[in-house]
Every structure is written in structure tokens, then in C-alpha cells.
């Protein structure tokens, strides 16, 4: 029969804990080797330095913003920020109302204005240009050969809009230069022509004045194209739905463009968002019903993306900067360093105090805290990798505060064991009984902690969330450590001579705890008034250990108790000496 005593079970639990820790470490190691994980936690803006802006989206007409619109707002800002070349910007929403933009460093005024601006979508006819012409012309056309307007332009598609200046600007435009792809801060006036790039096809164009503003779009959607018979084809298309005004103007535009005929660039119209061409489709029909369909080489994704962008046009969202905070990288690093120093000093004080209170048992507290710390650290690193969790200053504070609450689980447990010893139990059974009672308390109280962390996380805003997150994380780490480390270790320690015999330095010395054995064997119970009997400790340890092994359970327990009594007398004598 295999040994299945508590000692074996304790060892097995410890192996599980080791396996869990190793698994986390291997996961993180693999992540940092093959993926973007790192052995140090990702830091939030307040520690890393940078700028955080909280933006309140404002919808035209002043109505409340819907979650869908908020997602669109995030998408708009993400495109703007990414377009402006800021690396590693983070954009999140907050409590269903605000958009938080975190940028490393200090944004230049252009970036700020850009983020604040409302999205501008326009439909303009193409005058010249096309896809794949991205680079600037190597040899600019000589001045005397530049196209000159022969007359006042009569409609938006009239090539007479192209002035020599505009043509030079067009030739000089380099759409391969990332700077040219930045969303324009101020788009060209609606009644003037402009040059623009189409990033997707590396095209550059000269565009006529605005024909239909984006606000005339009611909505946009995407789906599989249908044949005239109504059968679904295997190609994706984007459908636009104009309002009445848009329907009317768009009909006029398509009539004119369709008449120009395919093959001429002027047959195309361009959908311009923030000064960039989102799409420049050709006109294949006169659209009289205000429901044009854009087809082409769409994948489902690109069709969805264009439909989304068209929706922005339908809904110009502007942003009001609610708060802007700049944190210098040095200040953040200082705060982190001092926070860590404070944490370490706090930990040291906790260690000293628990050694003072619990003697060598305090070492178990310290070891448990270290294990909890390692688990939490690994978890934070892994979450930084998979969930982009970033440690903020509030999070660091949460970790430091957690030291106390984690240590409390051990204190509750140790005090229960001491209570059991005071009732006169032997250490092994005191540990088991104490654990049974402490377990309930620890579980109930940690449930409160977890509840608080969860509620705070889901309700609260801003850096409260980071704090709540670490609080919850440490509560879980604490539970893991109490169950998988502290308790098994104590079970094993209870079997050692040092703790089992209640050495004065063990912190579990029954005599100091006033424990008088309840049961002395042979059916005799302790008389509360009776003074403990002193029995000399066996001189020959080897022999006594051997004898111990041969004893029956009842004999062994009696021997334990007698030793405990011997210890008690020793200490009380010491007290008298002081």
C-alpha cells in the first residue's frame, strides 16, 4: 500500500505548486523567445513617461454617444494617430463615454490638433492621376508645358480647374513619403481643387471641388455582391445609402461622370477622409436611387473597413480634450524606483515584525510572501504580453498594500494553530485542525477582497482599474500560496523535531502558549488546577528517536506532551531569571 499520509500529500501539493510556477515561467520564457513577451512588466504611462489625453467625443447635434459610435471614434483616432507616425500609442475607451489616448513622449501641436479635429469626409471628382503613380515626378514638366486653364471651370469635373501651380504641386507630391500620408489637419476648402494620395493603391490624384459632403450619407454597409438576378456572387461590395439631398446631387454627379466614359480618369470620383483618399471608384452607371454600390477587389475585411469609414462621414465626431497629463519619463522612473524602495522597506519591516512575533515561523511568512511575489510577477508579465496589461503607479500601490493583506492569511492561520496548541493539542493535529478552521476564514475574507476588486474593476474608471486589477490578482495569488505553499510547508514542518517538539525559537512552543495537554493517556484528563509535571528530556537523542519510532500512537502522543511540558518549565525558569 502506498503511503498516503499528510506528509506525502503535502509534498505532492508542493510539487504541484512548483509545476504551476514552472509552467508560468516556461510560458513567459517561450513568449519572450518567440513572441513579444518580456521578463519585465509593461509599464503604464505614469511610470514610463508620456502624455495621456482624455477625449470626450461630441456628436454633431449634441445627442448622446452610443457604444457603436464610441468604437468608431476610437477607430478614427487610431487611424489619425497611427497615420501621424506615433509609435505605440494606446487608445482605449472609458466608462462608455470617453476615449483615452496614451502617447509616449509629448505630442507636437499638429498631432494634438489632429486628434481633436472632427473627421471630414467628402466626395470629389477625379481630374487627373490614378493608382500606382505614388512617387514624385523625377523631371518636373517645364513651366511652359504646364496645363493652363483655357476658361473658367463650368462644373466640378472640368479640367480647367488644373492650374499650373496645382499641377506642380501634384508632380511634387510623393505618396511614398509617410509624411504625405498623414491625415491633413486642414483639408482644402470645399470649393477648391486639391491633390491627394490614396494609400491603398499608392495612387495620387488631382481632385475637383467637393460634390457631396460626407454628412449626406445616411449609412453604409457591406455584403456579397448580387447579380442582376438577385443571386449572391462571390465578391464583396460596399453599399452607400444617401439621404434625399445626397441622392439628388449624387445622381447629377454620376450622370456627368458616366457620360465621360470609362478609361478617362475623370470617370472616377474619390471618397476623401481627412484629406486622404479612402477609395476612388469608377462610375459604371447613373445612380438615381441614392444607393450606390462600390465593388472591386474587396475582401470581406477591406469591404468592412470601407463601410466603417463611410459611416464616419455620416457622423462627424469631434473631440474635446477633457484632460491632458504629461508625465516626464524621469519623474515616472523616480516614482517607480521610490515606490519599489518603499515596498521593499515595507516588506523588510513586515519580515522583521513577523520574525519578532512568530520566531522561525516568521520565515514561513517571508517565504510565502516571496512565492506569492514570484507568482504575481509572472502573472503581470504574462498579462502584459497577452492582454496588454500595463503596471501603473496605482497598480504598484496595490501590490504594496497587498503585502499586508497577504500576510494576514498567514497570521490568521498561525493564530488558529496557536489556539489549537493552547487547547493542548499536539502540533501535528493542531496544524490540521487549525487549518480546517482557518481555511474557512481565509476563503470568506478573500471572497470579500475579490468582490471588491471585481466591482472596482468593472465600475471604476482610469487608474482605479489598474489598482483593482492588482488587488484582485494578489488576492488570487494569496489563495494559491496559502493552499499550495504555506499549509503544506507547515504540515511538513510539524513533523520536524525543531517545530514538532516546540523549540522555544519555533514560534510554536506550546509552553509559551500556555498549552497544557488535554489528554495524558490512560484515560486521565487534565485538571485545570493541576501544575504540569516536569519530565527530564532524554539525553541520548538517537536512542530517543529510535524509541519514538517503536511507540504506539498513544505513547508517542504522551511523550510529545511530556516534552512540551518539559519545555514549558524550562522557559518559565528563564522568565524567573530575567
Amino acid at each position: 500500500m502506498p503511503r498516503t499520509g499528510p506528509g506525502t500529500a503535502a509534498k505532492r501539493t508542493l510539487v504541484w505548486l512548483g509545476a504551476l510556477t514552472a509552467l508560468l515561467a516556461i510560458l513567459l520564457g517561450a513568449g519572450s523567445y518567440w513572441s513579444t513577451a518580456s521578463w519585465s512588466p509593461r509599464l503604464a504611462l505614469d511610470l514610463e513617461g508620456g502624455t495621456q489625453m482624455i477625449l470626450a467625443p461630441r456628436v454633431q447635434g449634441g445627442s448622446e454617444i452610443t457604444p457603436e459610435q464610441l468604437d468608431q471614434a476610437v477607430e478614427i483616432i487610431r487611424q489619425r494617430v497611427d497615420g501621424s507616425g506615433v509609435a505605440e500609442a494606446e487608445i482605449n475607451t472609458q466608462s462608455g463615454q470617453n476615449v483615452i489616448v496614451s502617447l509616449p513622449g509629448t505630442p507636437d501641436p499638429q498631432t494634438r490638433d489632429l486628434i481633436q479635429a472632427s473627421a471630414q469626409m467628402e466626395f470629389r471628382p477625379v481630374l487627373a492621376g490614378g493608382p500606382g503613380q505614388a512617387a514624385a515626378a523625377e523631371t518636373p514638366t517645364p513651366d511652359d508645358q504646364l496645363p493652363k486653364p483655357a476658361a473658367e471651370p463650368k462644373d466640378a469635373s472640368d479640367p480647367n480647374w488644373i492650374t499650373p501651380e496645382l499641377y506642380k504641386q501634384f508632380e511634387a507630391l510623393d505618396c511614398l513619403d509617410p509624411a504625405a500620408l498623414e491625415p491633413a489637419e486642414e483639408t482644402a476648402p470645399a470649393d477648391q481643387p486639391m491633390v491627394a494620395c490614396e494609400p491603398d493603391t499608392q495612387g495620387k490624384y488631382i481632385l475637383g471641388p467637393v460634390e457631396v459632403p460626407g454628412t449626406d450619407i445616411s449609412t453604409a454597409s457591406y455584403g456579397l455582391q448580387r447579380s442582376p438576378q438577385g443571386q449572391a456572387l462571390n465578391t464583396w461590395a460596399v453599399n452607400i445609402d444617401f439621404n434625399d439631398e445626397g441622392t439628388e446631387t449624387f445622381r447629377e454627379v454620376t450622370e456627368r461622370l458616366y457620360a465621360i466614359g470609362t478609361g478617362d480618369p475623370r470617370n472616377q470620383f474619390a471618397i476623401v477622409l481627412d484629406g486622404r483618399i479612402v477609395s476612388a471608384p469608377t462610375t459604371n452607371a447613373v445612380i438615381a436611387d441614392g444607393n450606390p454600390q462600390i465593388s472591386g477587389n474587396f475582401t470581406e475585411e477591406s469591404a468592412a473597413a470601407l463601410a466603417e469609414q463611410l459611416k464616419y462621414g455620416a457622423l462627424p465626431i469631434s473631440f474635446e480634450i477633457q484632460s491632458e497629463q504629461q508625465i516626464s519619463a524621469t519623474l515616472g522612473a523616480d516614482q517607480l524606483r521610490l515606490g519599489l524602495v518603499a515596498g521593499l522597506i515595507g516588506l523588510l519591516l513586515v519580515a522583521v515584525y513577523s520574525m519578532f512575533q512568530y520566531r522561525l515561523l516568521g520565515l514561513v511568512t517571508i517565504a510565502s510572501l516571496v512565492v506569492a511575489g514570484v507568482l504575481t510577477y509572472l502573472a503581470i508579465c504574462i498579462l502584459g504580453w497577452t492582454e496588454n496589461y500595463r503596471l501603473s503607479l496605482a497598480g504598484v500601490a496595490g501590490l504594496i498594500v497587498a503585502i499586508g493583506q497577504t500576510a494576514d492569511s498567514f497570521i490568521v492561520y498561525f493564530e488558529r494553530i496557536r489556539d489549537e496548541l493552547r487547547d493542548g493539542r499536539g502540533l501535528i493535529s493542531a496544524v490540521e485542525n487549525g487549518w480546517r478552521r482557518a481555511k474557512r476564514t481565509v476563503l470568506a475574507s478573500k471572497a470579500v477582497n475579490l468582490l471588491a476588486a471585481l466591482v472596482l474593476y468593472f465600475v471604476a474608471v482610469g487608474n482605479v482599474r489598474g489598482f483593482a486589477f492588482t488587488l484582485g490578482l494578489t488576492a488570487i495569488a494569496d489563495l494559491v500560496v496559502v493552499f499550495l505553499f504555506t499549509h503544506p510547508v507547515l504540515r511538513l514542518l510539524a513533523r520536524t523535531k525543531f517545530f514538532g517538539e516546540g523549540h522555544p525559537w519555533s514560534g510554536l512552543d506550546p509552553s509559551r502558549l500556555g498549552g497544557i495537554p488535554l489528554y495524558r493517556g490512560a484515560g486521565r484528563l487534565r485538571d485545570p488546577a493541576e501544575k504540569p509535571v516536569v519530565i527530564a528530556r532524554a539525553k541520548n537523542k538517537g536512542a530517543s528517536a529510535e524509541a519514538e519510532r517503536r511507540m504506539t500512537i498513544a505513547e508517542r502522543r504522551r511523550a510529545e506532551q511530556q516534552k512540551a511540558l518539559a519545555g514549558r518549565t524550562g522557559s518559565s525558569q528563564k522568565e524567573n531569571n530575567e
Partner: protein, 338 residues
């Protein structure tokens, strides 16, 4: 040796040889708590509210770090040069750090003030940071915090009522919690500490800590009073009191252990770091941990006993215990131990 005496202290508390009348003197504690609440409500009313941080007022803030010069006049001049009618608040928040707060400035004004501060305090470009906060930001934070408070209290009360199988424990715990929160708020107002979003985080953590502490002590009370109605040795009130006394060593150890790291942030923060997230947070926690521990011992447990004392079954049991004692004291001729 102090440890021995502390262990002895624990032993005596456990056996009941040494006992503090937490339950018996409950009316005194309730009176003190009531007065503290009254004062905590009157102070903010008289003072006209709290010292709200910039997050609640809205405005622009500049932080100048690592300057050798801590003259507040430079900071004031830097602002009034640009905006003559502004009323800047300039504070030396840490050894070498100055903070300038003023009303909301435009972007151009912000840049000019920044330049003024750089030249005025003779620091590098990256040692001056600026930020501004809209007045609604702080409101957002505190509104969400209030909602969080409400949701948490409700859920925690339900959780406790289910776990302890009595709503009276949940009620007593919540009452103690409210006392702790109100008095902490009162202390904030009294001492003119600035209320910042970080302090709000601190308040919310106190919630969690105070209730956590109460649950630990209540669990011991639950254990001790499991045979409440049948015990003939102690009355219910005495059983509750014994539980509080038995967990007193734990309460002391836990609050010391919880407060050591917090205090270390608070004091290190004050000397080296200046007013910031860590300090605001740790201050709220420092007050809250102390009050939370006291609230459990002096309010929650005695209140729970008081709530249950009038139950007919416990009244009967109390009478039985007292009768038995009277009988014993007559037969032995000795005075019964309290």
C-alpha cells in the same frame, strides 16, 4: 522579554483570563462613534467642503522637478507674466519639486508659462511637465466611485448574509463600514488634505480592507457562538466578547503588518517623492486601516451582539447562565469571575 509577555498576553486573552469589555461597554463606543460621525459631518459643512484637488476643480498644472530653487514667487511670476489676472497656487511638494496650479490656460499660454518656469527655476526642458484637467474628469471618477461603493456594499452584504446565515452580521458589518468611511472623510476635511482621484482609490480600498477585517473577526464569533443557545458557561454577549478578545492578537498583528508597507510609502513619499498618486493613496489607507481595525472591534462586533441580545432564545439562555452562576457562587461562597 517582550515576546514572552506578548505571548502571555495572547494566552490570557485566549483563555479569557484577561478580557477587555468590548461588548459590555458597547454604549460608550457607540456614543463615541456617533460623536465622531457628527463631527465628521459638521466639519465639512462648516469649512465649506473638502480641499478638492485639481482633478475636481479643473485647471492647468505644472510640475518642476529637480530644481534647487524653491521660491514660490518665481512660479507665481511665471504665470502672472502670461496671464495677469490668474491666481496661481504654487507649492513646494517635495524636496526639489515645485507644483504650480492655475486656472485652465490655452495652449499658447501653457507653452509660455512652461518657458518661464524653465528659465525661472533654471531647469532643463524635460524637468517641467504640464497637464490640464477638465472639471468633469474628477466628477466622473467620483461618480463611478460612488456607484462602485453602492454596488460593493450591496453585494458584500448579500455575501455575508449568505455565508454567516444571518443578516444581522451583515448589517453590523455595514454599519461599522459606514462609520469608518464617514470618519475618514471627516479627517480628510479636518486636516485639509487634498482630495484627489488617488485618495478616492484609497477610500475604496479601505472599504475592502475594513470589511475583510470584519469578516475575519466575525468568523471567529460564528465559531464561538455556534452552540450559542445551548451553552451554559457563557452568555451570548460574553461569547462574542471572548471571540473579539481571542482574535485581538490577530487584529493587532494584521493591522501592524498591513500598515508597515503603507506607512513606508507614506513617509518615504513625503520626504522624497512629493504629493502624488502613491502618497494620496497611502494616506487614505493609513487612516483607513487604523479606523477599519478599530471599527471591527468597537462597532461591528458589539453591534452584532446588541442586535441579537433581545432574541427570546438568547434571553432564555442568558438567564440560565446567570442562574447557574448564582447557584455556584452560593454553593462555593466565592464571587463569580467576570
Amino acid at each position: 522579554m517582550s515576546r514572552t509577555s506578548f505571548a502571555t498576553f495572547g494566552n490570557e486573552l485566549y483563555s479569557g483570563k484577561r478580557s477587555y469589555p468590548f461588548v459590555a461597554k458597547r454604549n460608550l463606543w457607540f456614543l463615541i462613534a456617533g460623536l465622531a460621525i457628527l463631527v465628521s459631518i459638521i466639519i465639512p459643512v462648516v469649512k465649506g467642503g473638502f480641499n478638492l484637488g485639481i482633478d475636481f476643480r479643473g485647471g492647468s498644472e505644472f510640475t518642476v522637478s529637480a530644481t534647487g530653487n524653491t521660491d514660490t514667487a518665481i512660479g507665481e511670476a511665471a504665470v502672472t507674466d502670461v496671464v495677469p489676472d490668474a491666481v496661481p497656487r504654487v507649492t513646494n511638494i517635495a524636496a526639489d519639486t515645485m507644483r504650480v496650479q492655475t486656472e485652465r490656460l490655452t495652449d499658447d499660454e501653457t507653452l509660455s508659462v512652461r518657458d518661464n518656469l524653465i528659465s525661472g527655476y533654471g531647469v532643463g526642458e524635460d524637468q517641467v511637465t504640464s497637464s490640464f484637467v477638465g472639471p468633469t474628469w474628477g466628477e466622473d471618477v467620483s461618480r463611478q466611485a460612488l456607484i462602485g461603493f453602492g454596488v460593493f456594499v450591496l453585494l458584500a452584504a448579500i455575501l455575508m448574509a449568505i455565508y454567516f446565515r444571518t443578516w444581522k452580521m451583515a448589517l453590523a458589518a455595514m454599519a461599522a463600514l459606514v462609520v469608518v468611511m464617514v470618519v475618514t472623510a471627516g479627517l480628510y476635511s479636518l486636516s485639509n488634505f487634498e482630495v484627489t482621484p488617488s485618495a478616492i482609490i484609497g477610500f475604496l480600498t479601505i472599504l475592502s480592507y475594513a470589511l475583510y477585517d470584519t469578516v475575519v473577526v466575525f468568523d471567529k464569533i460564528r465559531e464561538n457562538t455556534a452552540d450559542g443557545a445551548t451553552s451554559t458557561r457563557r452568555t451570548f454577549a460574553e461569547q462574542v466578547n471572548l471571540a473579539v478578545n481571542q482574535t485581538l492578537v490577530r487584529s493587532i498583528n494584521t493591522s501592524v503588518v498591513a500598515i508597515l508597507p503603507v506607512a513606508s510609502i507614506l513617509f518615504i513619499g513625503s520626504f522624497l517623492l512629493g504629493a502624488g498618486t502613491l502618497q494620496d493613496l497611502s494616506l487614505a489607507l493609513f487612516i483607513g486601516i487604523i479606523l477599519g481595525t478599530l471599527g471591527t472591534i468597537f462597532i461591528a462586533a458589539p453591534l452584532y451582539a446588541a442586535l441579537r441580545l433581545n432574541e427570546p432564545e438568547l434571553k432564555k439562555q442568558e438567564k440560565k447562565v446567570l442562574d447557574r452562576r448564582a447557584l455556584e457562587s452560593v454553593s462555593s461562597g466565592a464571587h463569580p469571575a467576570r
